[in-house]
């Protein structure tokens, strides 16, 4: 189970119990924002915290060790070819800068398509 599946399982269990985050957090003796973080797939709860949350939800924690799903070979192969310098460069930029450059590239792309259509029409 990855963190996104765990967070979804937590949300599902809370909704099945018909409880708010505040009510569960109060019963589990933890701050509500910490529970909200877990439901967003953030944080690294201890087993004791999980047990308190489960108890608040009228549930038990069950942990199972299963064979790891083999990574998707195609994705792994593609991953080797990802240009990480571009990613690092983007991560150094602000969100606005990342999206503005996307907007400029979109504009360039549409200009390119327009000129290609114009050229084909001339032929």
């Amino acid at each position: 189970m990855d963190i996104t599946q765990f967070s979804q399982a937590l949300i599902d269990a809370r909704e099945r119990a018909g409880l708010t985050q505040r009510a569960v957090a109060s019963k589990a003796n933890m701050p509500q924002p910490a529970l909200a973080r877990l439901e967003r797939g953030r944080g690294n709860p201890t087993l004791e915290t999980l047990e308190r949350i489960a108890a608040a939800l009228g549930a038990d924690v069950s942990i199972e060790l299963v064979s790891r799903t083999a990574p998707d070979e195609t994705v792994e192969r593609y991953k080797r070819d990802v240009d990480r310098t571009l990613l690092r460069e983007n991560l150094r930029r602000s969100v606005d800068q990342r999206l503005r450059s996307l907007g400029e590239l979109q504009l360039f792309g549409s200009e390119l398509r327009r000129s290609m259509r114009a050229r084909q029409a001339k032929r």
Binding site: D2, I3, T4, S7, I11, E39, R40, G41, D72, T74, V75, E76, R77, Y78, K79, D81, V82, D83, R84, L86, L87, R88, E89, N90, L91, V95, D96, R98, L99, R100, L102, G103, E104, L105, Q106, L107, G109, S110
Partner: protein, 161 residues
Amino acid sequence: MTGLERLLAALHKAKVEFIIVGGVAARAHGSARVTQDIDVSYGRDGANLERIVTALRPLKPYLRGAPIGLPFDWSAATLRAGLNFTLTTTAGDIDLLGEIAGGGTYEQLARHTVELTIFGNATKVLDLPWLIRVKRAAGRPKDLETIAELEALREEIDRAE
């Protein structure tokens, strides 16, 4: 102002409840890939449908790829009658998604968003783990390269932290 900025400004001005998903969300997180449209998940309640209609009307939305002249009534009734719409506007292409495979509705996706300030507005963006999840759920061969880049991006972010 780029088309993307105009589209986002229009949605915010009309107070539309939406989440940026897809390629623009990936770009916001740091992806280097270029996408030609913006995908947004939107709330399907009546008031939000009206807000979407108000937001996009000045941008003359039309069904992308449909023959010119086809009657298309841009209204809340049209949005209510459908679910996912691929539209072209004077500010660029936008996909309005009432539901996405592996992610669900706006309300379900809203739990897995980060709020980013984009061009001055607080904007919900699908978080990186869920972007990867919905791409995997889509199961399209063309998405494998995108998934690889998003996973590499997640590794780079983890490494930087």
